[in-house]
């Protein structure tokens, strides 16, 4: 019972953060709301027993990725009158309609998963050695490819962000 109450509280917090991200006019506020949502998602991982992912979520998402976002927002010299008169009324209408349809479809699919239930004690955490064993045996190739992708991303960022100065 307590577990459910905590879950509902955290889920409510995550949704409020996501809505705040969408309605706040300044990108910095959006980023901070998203940090809040990512923290709530880390708490949900913890409630689902995935404590390794909860820690990684906080370090990688709330730490690295959102700091990168905030850094870029502050690096770009954004003016307040950047955006002219709102020309997006059509997008607002259709965006809301289609998103509502999408949400209904997804919730119906979620309801169809009713036959599946969590088994075992809900408070047991995932043993990290098991996770590591799986990562370095069954998914070893994927692990290596992921490291390669990170390397390529790093080189790509340097190339993209370099100021083109006389071809050098």
């Amino acid at each position: 019972m307590l577990l459910k109450a905590v879950f509902l509280l955290v889920a409510f917090g995550a949704i409020v953060g996501a809505i705040g991200m969408l309605v706040s006019p300044k990108p910095v506020h959006s980023a901070l709301f998203l940090v809040w949502t990512l923290f709530c998602i880390a708490a949900i991982y913890l409630l689902l027993g995935a404590e390794f992912l909860a820690v990684v979520q906080i370090i990688v998402y709330a730490g690295a990725i959102m700091v990168l976002f905030l850094f870029i927002i502050m690096l770009l010299d954004l003016r307040r009158d950047e955006f002219g008169p709102d020309t997006m009324t059509v997008q607002w209408t259709w965006g809301l309609i289609f998103t509502a349809l999408l949400a209904i479809a997804l919730v119906v699919v979620a309801g169809a998963a009713v036959a599946l239930r969590f088994s075992g004690d809900p408070l047991t955490l995932t043993p990290i050695p098991d996770l590591a064993r799986l990562l370095f045996t069954k998914y070893l190739l994927a692990f290596e490819i992921a490291s390669l992708i990170l390397l390529i991303a790093m080189v790509g960022v340097v190339v993209l962000a370099k100021r083109p100065k006389g071809g050098a």
Partner: protein, 103 residues
């Protein structure tokens, strides 16, 4: 023993967060906030993966989430570099004015 959280609740949360992310991509004009919405959608999918991993009692779902996070980190770095490059050319983060490939 505590009563477990129903799987449906977790999946419903995932669905709602994914829809909010999709809404953000559709209605926002600031390319940075659109990018944040994409991150939110990735996270919503991750929640569903962890929930199913827990329901099936194997860890493969959690490994997939781990790789998703890795790729999200790479994707954010590249995406923000593209935004910086775009800002350097156009002095704006308004997607409506990013029309270099339009004509």
């Amino acid at each position: 023993m505590e009563a477990a959280i129903p799987l449906n609740w977790v999946l419903a949360l995932s669905a709602v967060l994914f829809s909010l992310g999709a809404l953000g991509v559709l209605i926002k004009r600031n390319i940075i906030v659109m990018f944040m919405s994409i991150e939110l959608m990735l996270n919503a999918a991750n929640i569903a993966l962890v929930a199913f991993s827990r329901a099936h009692g194997n860890l493969d779902g959690q490994i997939v989430v781990f790789f998703t996070m890795t790729l999200a980190a790479a994707e954010v770095a590249i995406g923000l570099a593209i935004i910086v490059a775009l800002f350097r050319i156009r002095r704006t983060v308004d997607v409506d004015r990013a029309t270099l490939l339009k004509w």
